[in-house]
């Protein structure tokens, strides 16, 4: 047996001192703990702010684009020498030459092939297509003069936005000293400036940053999500109604329930594997098509919608059901006429949140080939298409510096869609959801 330590006699002052010490220590720990909590909240908020500020600073410039003002003469001899005015003849003309003539008129001192080529490089290769589209839509322009703003090349655009530094020898990035001189002259005469970037909102993807737009991806997203909504809302609502209103609790419905809860936590890429193996491998549906994307996203969002819809149905008080049944309604009439209208706002809120998740989903769509480089804007559910988040992924891989701002720009567009959808969900919940 060990000896008990002798109780040391303490004076009251000593005891008070000890208590005060321990209290100081404990209050210090309290303050420290509280500080950690504040720090954690602050870190989270700081990251949100940092992320959004970074994206907007990088991406805001994507909505503006450098344009060059030139006086173009629509020379009939160059556009339509035969004078047929047939669309296919007008389409086949060399509009690049038209631009060259106009630029040479602006800079008469430029001579020689090399210099002319450098001059042409100030303007995007897409400018010729824009001119062609202008002439195609109004052939009466042929033979007349017009002042047009032509799309400038990505290098000029980045220089104007201050993204490439000027070097001491007068060069800058890929631009030669000569080109810098012309750019200076154009800027001085207000013939080169940053204007609203329409191309970004009207064009599909392109290898040239200045011609690349998000419209193709936006349309792809719209097609995919429309079909997803048309499939997943009815199926999800029906499944929720069955499980909540009709199914008796037995092993079978328990299995379905466990299943739905687990599916909600399966990584999205696994749904992509399912889509690849079943829809493309087994049923032979086309790759890169919004249909397959919609099928995969339907399966992915179903658990979310079912869980939210069940919660909404649970929120309808049983007295409503009993009253309907008491008046002689059948079970289906009771659900369709009374329970469903009351639960609808909640179900729709859940569906919108599910759709917002589907809109941001990337990984499963990579699996089913929606990552292809697609220039044309899709026109239907089976056309090859890509979607907004995948477009972000594709552009973020591009080495050109000009694509960085476009990626951020596309992200801003994507986030804008998400904000609208979530705002709709919040409004729906606040305005129409009833509390009993």
């Amino acid at each position: 047996m060990s000896e008990r330590p002798a109780v040391t006699a303490r004076t009251p002052q000593q005891t008070q001192e000890r208590v005060a010490q321990s209290l100081r220590r404990r209050y210090r720990a309290e303050r420290r703990f509280r500080f950690y909590g504040m720090l954690a909240v602050f870190l989270g908020i700081a990251f949100v702010v940092f992320l959004f500020v970074t994206l907007f600073v990088q991406g805001a410039s994507a909505f503006r684009q450098a344009y060059v003002k030139v006086d173009v003469h629509y020379d009939p001899a160059m556009i339509d020498p035969a004078g047929t005015r047939k669309p296919e003849d007008i389409a086949a003309a060399n509009y690049q030459a038209l631009i060259r003539v106009a630029l040479q008129k602006r800079f008469p001192q430029v001579e020689g092939r090399q210099a002319t080529r450098e001059l042409m490089r100030l303007v995007s290769s897409g400018a010729a297509y824009d001119l062609r589209d202008r002439v195609m839509s109004s052939p009466s322009l042929i033979g007349r003069d017009e002042t047009v703003w032509l799309l400038a090349s990505a290098e000029v655009d980045q220089l104007l936005k201050g993204k490439v530094p000027r070097q001491p020898n007068g060069r800058s990035g890929a631009l030669s000293a000569r080109q810098m001189d012309w750019i200076g002259q154009l800027t001085a005469s207000d013939a080169l400036e940053l204007r609203f970037n329409r191309t970004f909102f009207t064009h599909g993807d392109s290898r040239d940053p200045e011609q690349a737009g998000v419209w193709g991806a936006v349309m792809g997203s719209i097609f995919t999500l429309t079909l997803t909504l048309l499939l997943s809302f009815p199926i999800g609502a029906a499944a929720a109604i069955y499980l909540e209103e009709f199914a008796s609790r037995n092993r079978w419905t328990d299995l379905i329930e466990v299943n739905i809860n687990n599916l909600a936590a399966v990584p999205s890429i696994v749904f992509g594997l399912l889509g690849l193996a079943v829809f493309i491998g087994f049923f032979g549906l086309p790759r890169s098509a919004p249909v397959v994307g919609a099928f995969v996203l339907t399966l992915l969002t179903l658990p979310t919608i079912i869980i939210a819809s069940r919660a909404a149905l649970k929120g309808v008080p049983p007295s409503i059901r009993e009253a309907a049944l008491g008046m002689g309604a059948s079970k289906i009439q009771m659900v369709v006429h009374h329970v469903l209208p009351l639960a609808m706002p909640g179900m729709l809120t859940g569906t919108i949140i599910g759709m917002a998740r589907a809109l941001g989903e990337t990984a499963p769509l990579l699996m089913i080939g929606m990552v292809a480089f697609i220039v044309d804007v899709p026109k239907g559910f089976t056309d090859p298409a890509t979607v907004l988040p995948v477009q972000v992924f594709l552009w973020s891989d591009s080495p050109e510096r000009a694509f960085v701002e476009r990626t951020s720009g596309a992200i801003i567009v994507l986030l804008a869609f998400l904000v609208v959808m979530n705002a709709a969900a919040v409004i729906l919940r606040n305005r129409f959801e009833r509390r009993w």
Binding site: M38, V41, F47, A265, V266, P267, S268, A277, G360, L418
Partner: protein, 462 residues
Amino acid sequence: MTPAAILVVLVGLTLVAYTVGKHRALAVVGGSRGIRNLHSLPSYYGALTALWCAVPALIVFALWMAFQDGIITALVVSHLPPDLRNLTPSQLGLALNDVRNVVAGNVPFDAARPEIQAAATEYMSLRETSRLALAGLVVALGVVGIVVVRAKISASLRARNAVEKMVEWALIACSLIAVLTTVGIIASVAFEAARFFSKVPWYEFLFGLHWSPQTAIRADQVGASGSFGAVPLFWGTIMISGIAMLIAVPIGLFSAIYLAEYAHRRFRAWTKPFLEVLAGIPTVVYGFFAALTVAPALRGWGTVFGLDVASESALAAGLVMGIMIVPFVSSLADDMITAVPQSLRDGAYALGATKSETIKHVVIRAALPGIVGGVLLAISRAVGETMIVVMAAGLAANLTANPFEAVTTVTVQIVSLLVGDQEFDSARTLAAFALGLVLFLVTLGLNVLALHIVKRYREQYE
């Protein structure tokens, strides 16, 4: 007739069926005056007719569309010239692709080789025949449905009960889709994985230390078989998820504690949705942010401290992933903490505990099962996360413990193996499904474990 046109015709026929059924029901009892003799409302007789018109036709339509392409392709292949038919499966697949491109109009008809042209012509004519047959069959089924039900309509026909039975079956079918999805995932992934394991033994896959899934273009190429040891992938996944959890658990837990226990009600009302924004941002945005902002910054700081940070480091991906997961941890922990009854806190205060002591010794312990469950769910989220690691973690299968080096994960490899054109038979493609199977099983296990812990150890108050 295109499939869409067939569907439009069917919709029209269904509307006709509805009117026919409704009018027939009224006619049977002698107009609206005898309506009380009908068992159900006239609209139910219309609905019954419409359902019998549309449902069988739709089922046939769906089955036909699902199998039409396969059958036609098989027919076209069997009529191909022998030299084409005897090609290896992959070359045959290429030829078939040519045929499909011609059919779809992606390639002008005249630009194709003559044998492809012939096959395409046959394909198109077969497809036209098949579509005509389908249109005939669908319309015939619809009309038969209308005629049969119309003949059966009588005053005592229990139309409402029949319609409601069918609606209930439809509801059951919809809820079965969830089960079918699980079955589909397991069946498809396991089937392809089994084919992979018939080429590469499972122990080599699970325990091999070397991952280089190159497949041979020529048979005599060096390293033709590739090696499929997945341990570096598992390690990379564990490391990045670990870094993510090191960020997410403290930040998530402490912010939940602060918001639930300390913060003013109004501060909480503003801050909580703000933090939950993190959960709504698409992962591709995080990936872009990790690759273009965080990774270069880490590299820059690394050079300041004399560290060599790879431009695709595990640290950058893990950090950003951790931030992404914060709201999952914090909202689950918040729910659990607010569920702890006030009486427990009051008891601790009565014993003289400070607020932080109460939280540490009473509240957190009472909420622990829920918090552990939430953390497990967050881990499963981190393991399955794809876009951040694809964009920020890179492809190098390094077996390293250094967080500044590049590692790769299971999901990155699935993406890199399957993106782009590939054939279904190569070990390379099948390896992705084997990885998918592992991923599915691991996340499923984590979820089941999390739910089990929450259910088993949760304290029931009141």
